[in-house]
Amino acid sequence: MNEINDDRFREMFRRAMAPMADTELKHDLWPRMLRRLDERPARVPWLDLALLALLAIWCAIFPGVIPALLYNL
């Protein structure tokens, strides 16, 4: 896997994926935005809070896992 092969592979990748042809927004999103602003903010479920607390405790006990955790975030 040298640099030349990487360049060739990137070219093949570019041809296979193709850029987005149309990136124009077709209509105004403000009415949807207004509806979203009118919604009440979602409450964080208690289970999520419990998992977050467990994660914090786990990181405190095993600080060595923090870099691996950050990498996967």
Binding site: M1, D6, F9, R10, M12, F13, R14, R15, A16, M17, A18, P19, M20, A21, D22, T23, E24, L25, K26, D28, L29, W30, R32, M33, R36, L37, N72
Partner: protein, 172 residues
């Protein structure tokens, strides 16, 4: 400047003006990353929702567009992270509709599948740089990293993609 200051104070009218000015740009950036127009609209709304909630943290001395693009990038990456767990099996993957007919359909499907299974941050950098051919400085600004870090992510994405394809039986 006054508009940005009004927005920072939480003015809804200022937010509406900024929304109308920047919605197209934000949508265009997101659709390049997620490659799905309907989803990009949803994520544009999510981006502006986060922008609105963070109004007090905005610095009116800085560019609103660059700030919005940074938040849009985070929103798109969050989506790519969740979508990564829903990657389909090779037999169910269709080749990209607009792809080059010179590339074999099976290879296109394999590349698309392997690509969607890349870590979200690598996927975002590779899409913007290799597919959309955006400048590395622009990508770096949106991702909050340097241009050399962008280059490193593209390199890692390419290597990982090749490894994945090799495991799937393709020898690129």
């Amino acid at each position: 400047m006054e508009l940005l200051e009004q927005f920072r104070r939480g003015g809804l009218e200022a937010f509406e003006t900024l929304f109308r000015q920047h919605q197209g740009e934000v949508y265009g950036w997101i659709v390049r990353m997620v490659r799905n127009p309907a989803l990009a609209e949803d994520l544009t709304i999510e981006t502006f929702w986060r922008i609105y909630r963070a109004h007090a943290r905005f610095d009116p001395e800085r560019s609103f567009g660059a700030w919005a693009r940074r938040i849009a990038t985070n929103v798109a990456i969050d989506h790519l992270k969740s979508a990564r767990h829903e990657v389909e099996l090779p037999a169910n993957v269709r080749a990209p509709a607009q792809a080059d007919p010179g590339v074999h359909a099976e290879t296109q499907a394999a590349i698309a599948l392997a690509f969607r299974s890349l870590p979200a941050k690598l996927q975002a950098a590779a899409t913007l740089a290799l597919v959309e051919e955006r400048p590395q400085e622009e990508i770096g600004e949106a991702l909050g990293i340097s241009a050399s870090a962008v280059k490193s992510r593209i390199f890692r994405a390419t290597r990982l993609l090749r490894k994945k394809l090799k495991r799937m039986g393709f020898e690129p």
